[in-house]
């Protein structure tokens, strides 16, 4: 259990450790602080977006121990000691991941607000199931709302990545 500190007004805060993209961060959070806000406001990892804070849009998706979750529905204290991957941790050593490159090449990005969450959901799917059917892709990203693309190019981008090519024919 995380160490609790009570301030002079009687408000309790918890000292927790978040392992984000391989880095351990020790932060002091209120019991009701959502993971999205702690990532964005305390760790400055603003790649995790906020679109609803109700679990509806998926723009706050992060991987918690490898599984995609809406970080607005996760209390920061729940994530204490666990492994978190945010969009900032997907590209390695300055090189975009294949799924990221595929999203760009397929024009699967428009306003880009859903994109970080979409990339993480897709990445989790491909890790778990490297050879998904189109229906499986659609299901995997169905918690990520995109108002711009109609999902057509996003699904193409994920399917193409699974098939080992990140560039569409019409490129």
């Amino acid at each position: 259990m995380a160490q609790a500190i009570t301030d002079k007004d009687g408000v309790k805060r918890y000292l927790i450790t978040l392992n984000v993209n391989g880095d351990a961060h020790t932060v002091l959070v209120k019991g009701n602080a959502i993971l999205t806000n702690v990532l964005r406001d305390q760790l400055d990892l603003t790649g995790t977006k906020k679109g609803c804070e109700l679990g509806d849009c998926g723009s706050c998706t992060v991987l918690l121990d490898g599984k995609p979750v809406d970080s607005c529905l996760v209390l920061a204290v729940e994530a204490d000691g666990r492994q978190i991957t945010t969009i900032e941790g997907v590209a390695a050593n300055g090189r975009l991941d294949e799924i990221q490159q595929s999203m760009i090449n397929h024009a699967a990005v428009q306003c880009g607000y859903c994109t970080p969450g979409m990339v993480l959901s897709a990445k989790a799917l491909l890790t778990r199931n490297p050879n998904p059917s189109e229906q499986e892709v659609r299901e995997a990203i169905s918690g990520n709302l995109c108002r711009c693309t109609g999902y057509v190019h996003i699904v193409e981008a994920v399917m193409a990545t699974a098939q080992g090519r990140v560039t569409p024919d019409d490129h």
């Binding site: 945010t86 428009q110 990520n144």
Partner: protein, 793 residues
């Protein structure tokens, strides 16, 4: 079409792609400034109430609260987007007009304190009777939303062209239908936010806006400042669809809070507040009458509409005009009458949403046209081809159409969708529908009266020629304009897209552009960019002419290479020439601007809907209806557009997909619902029902070969136009599947189920009375004969 372009016409990857996929792209709500405060607006819990008193003292005493403001602390000048009706205030002073109307605001050290402080502001209200039903808002004795607008009439329009009564009297067949469209909301995934700060007398606002220029103009006006002292910066923007075009109140409240505290203030809406702020599509009642000859040729049309404006005008005057003005675009007829009332109600104000004003009237007209075709026994595709507008024609309301390939779109989509086969053979319960659409390529006139150009651009070539930066006031809200404009700049300069940079939408750095609305950017901003690029190219060729000792007329430049037209061996790289230019002549810069020609007739409202060019399109959709549940499965959608020259095919099709997505949502699911107190019942994305990836059917989109003579390289719009046919297309497909029409949007499963049930009861009733009729008619139930359609995969 064979062409010799080196950059445009290619699906180059988005210029902002790497930043967006990596999470590096900063949107307004991602920005942080030292010493920043959080601001929140207190809104009305009542649809209509008089404000008796506001007591902020307790909120002010809360630790962490830095400022509390009400109408007493802000300018009282009324504002709005339509200068014809400025009727909004930063905060309400006398009364509130909808649930969510703005009353006060706080600035605090953190978000939590804001919510606590809002609770401590005591507002005493006298609740007034409210007008919630727009169909009765004009009735005698209804409460008045605004004292100065009798019978709650915000605007009324009466236009007549030709002789409608005569044409109807002479028509072979006349039919009237009525339809109702619902209130929908843009629902961009990024919520609205703004960060305001002062530096002496200068105000800077970072904002999620579709138009920094209109913000700058309206904020300067509100605070009585010179425009030069207001700077609007648009960071990355997470969608807009019309919902981020006008000041939201966040900027006004934020600016005042920032001034009082001397600190940057971030103000923002959460999802529910976004719904309350609304400005989405108007609910409307639409009656349409058409007279046709025996072949189905339209002789006259009459539109009689009523719109629910909500509590304020927003862009609604334009929406009202657009609703009627764009109707005669896709089909040719000479006699047209349009009557419209936009009424005030105690609900959130409506404004401009993708396809501004046009999609619902198109739904009504396209559904109506299918009814007319059915009356005459004409194929729905044929009746559209018979009436399709031809190029180089003028609409009865004086819109000049240059390029127009609506007929080709219909012919192509007929083949793609296998229309003729399906029309004959689809079983009951499965149907196919067609509809057309068209839209402006930029509005012919600005929103407020001004003679400023609509778009402008600079290009600065880096001193050693290895990069060029485009400076534009245009706004990439996701549609990809930054990418497309860089392609256009590179093409015009004879340069490479890969070496382009862009600085966009910062009123202090970039030249004026009206922004992202009315589908204007590729065309209007593109025209300015082309001009700027050509100015750079001219200077480069002049310099090269000196360097090569050849006349400039003999030189050309493409893809970063300067070459002689007469002597193939003679060439120079763009880089070396640009560098030389900087050494000898100083900065290598290009400038451009665009002002549309004078457009439209002289009647009242003639300006709305005018555009230098119009796009056209046709869509076919196939649906399967489950008769037990009314469930609609979309089997496929085929879309063909005439959008002129295509600059970036992948981005273009992405626009079509997105437009179809929005149209499909509006056709079947989306609707903002209110309770009997005027409170939104579904102010969340889940219950408003945005479609997910599993809800989307397969989409096939194509373009016809087209060239718009007035546009840069022949371009026209596509992003909004592709929403216009969709509602009508679904209406017609569902009609075809069931043989009965649902006359109101959304065409929900429940309404479909009810319509089928009523039809069945009617038929059973008739059959009981006329037993012999039973054998003559095909049974409605197919006893499991309907094939099962899996979800698209």
């Amino acid at each position: 079409m064979s062409d010799n372009h080196s950059v445009i016409g290619r699906s180059v990857p988005r210029i902002d792609g790497p930043e967006k996929v990596s999470g590096a792209a900063k949107y307004t709500g991602d920005l942080k400034f030292p010493n920043m405060l959080y601001g929140k607006i207190l809104t009305s819990p009542h649809a209509h109430a008089r404000i008796l008193s506001i007591d902020t003292s307790e909120a002010e005493r809360l630790p962490g609260v830095k400022a509390v403001i009400t109408h007493k602390d802000v300018p009282t000048l009324k504002y709005g987007l339509s200068p014809a009706r400025w009727d909004e205030s930063i905060f309400c002073s006398d009364k509130v007009r909808f649930v969510g109307d703005k009353v006060a605001a706080v600035a605090c050290l953190d978000e939590d304190t804001c919510y606590k402080a809002l609770k401590l502001i005591k507002v005493e209200y006298e609740v007034l009777p409210a007008v919630l039903d727009f169909l009765h808002a004009m009735d005698e004795g209804q409460p008045q939303v605004h004292e100065e607008y009798a019978r709650n009439i915000n605007t009324e329009i009466h236009q007549e062209f030709g002789d409608v009564e005569k044409a109807l009297a002479e028509a072979h067949h006349v039919r009237t239908d009525t339809f109702v469209g619902q209130r929908t909301y843009q629902s961009p995934i990024e919520p609205h936010s703004a960060i305001s700060m002062w530096d002496g007398g200068k105000l800077t606002i970072y904002s999620s806006t579709q138009s920094p220029h209109y913000f700058q103009h309206y904020i300067a006006r509100e605070f009585d400042m010179p425009m030069g002292d207001v700077r609007i910066i648009k960071p990355y923007l997470g969608g807009g669809f019309g919902g981020k075009l006008e000041p939201t109140g966040l900027e006004f409240a934020g600016a005042v809070l920032a001034k009082l505290t001397g600190r940057p203030v971030r103000t923002f809406y959460d999802r529910a507040e976004m719904f309350a702020h609304n400005r989405g599509r108007h609910a409307q009642y639409m009656e349409i009458t058409t007279g046709v000859d025996k072949n189905g040729k339209i002789l006259a049309a009459k539109a009689n509409f009523l719109m629910d404006g909500g509590a304020y005008t927003s862009l609604g005057i334009a929406s009202a005009y657009y609703a009627g003005a764009l109707l005669p675009l896709t089909y040719e007829f000479d006699n047209y009458q349009f009557d419209m009332f936009r009424v005030y109600t105690n609900l959130p104000a409506c404004g401009a949403q993708r396809g501004h004003g046009a999609p619902q009237p198109k739904y009504a007209f396209e559904s109506h046209l299918d009814n007319v075709a059915a009356d005459l026994g004409i194929d729905p595709m044929d009746i559209r081809i018979i009436n399709a507008r031809r190029p180089n024609t003028v609409t009865p309301n004086d819109f000049r159409v240059n390029s127009c390939k609506i007929k080709e779109c219909l012919e192509r989509v007929r083949v793609m969708s296998d229309w003729d086969e399906k029309k004959k053979n689809l079983p009951l319960g499965r149907g196919i529908g067609v509809a057309t659409g068209s839209f402006v390529t930029g509005a012919g006139y600005p929103i407020y009266r001004t003679d400023l150009p609509h778009a402008a651009a600079f290009i600065k070539v880096c001193e050693d020629g290895t990069a060029a930066t485009l400076y534009t006031g245009s706004v990439d809200i996701g549609q990809g304009s930054d990418t497309v404009l860089c392609q256009m700049a590179a093409e015009a300069m004879g340069y490479r897209y890969e070496q382009m940079k862009i600085v966009a939408a910062d009123t202090e750095i970039t030249p004026l552009d009206f922004g992202a609305y009315a589908s204007r950017q590729t065309y209007m901003s593109g025209a300015a960019v082309k001009q700027a690029g050509e100015e750079v190219k001219r200077q480069v060729l002049e310099m090269a002419s000196v360097m090569l000792g050849l006349p400039a007329e003999d030189l050309d430049c493409a893809d970063g290479q300067i070459f002689s037209k007469s002597r193939p061996g003679k060439s120079l790289s763009f880089e070396e020439v640009a560098r030389k230019h900087f050494v000898l002549r100083g900065p290598l810069l290009g400038r451009g601007s665009y002002t549309p020609p004078k457009l439209g007739g002289n009647f009242k409202g003639a300006a709305v809907g005018t555009s230098p060019a119009y796009s056209f399109g046709a869509q076919v959709g196939e649906v399967a209806i489950d008769e037990e549940t009314g469930e609609i499965t979309v089997v496929g959608i085929w879309d063909v557009h005439d959008c002129g020259k295509v600059i970036n095919p992948r981005l273009l099709h992405g626009q079509v997909h997105g437009a179809l997505y929005m149209g499909m949502g509006e056709a079947v699911w989306e609707e903002v619902l209110f309770d009997d107190k005027g409170r939104i019942k579904n102010a969340e994305l889940a219950n408003y029902r945005l479609l997910t990836a599993v809800d989307m059917p397969p989409i096939t989109s194509e373009v016809v070969d087209s060239y718009e003579p007035s546009g840069p390289w022949g371009v026209k719009e596509v992003g909004e136009g592709a929403t216009n046919p969709t509602l009508g297309m679904f209406s017609n497909a569902i009609f075809d599947a069931m043989g009965v029409r649902v006359n109101s949007l959304p065409l929900s499963y429940e309404k479909v189920w009810r319509a089928l049930k009523e039809k069945r009861e009617r038929e059973e009733d008739e059959a009981r009375r006329k037993p012999e009729a039973r054998r003559a008619e095909a049974p409605l139930e197919t006893d499991g004969a309907m094939p099962v359609y899996a979800n698209p995969s």
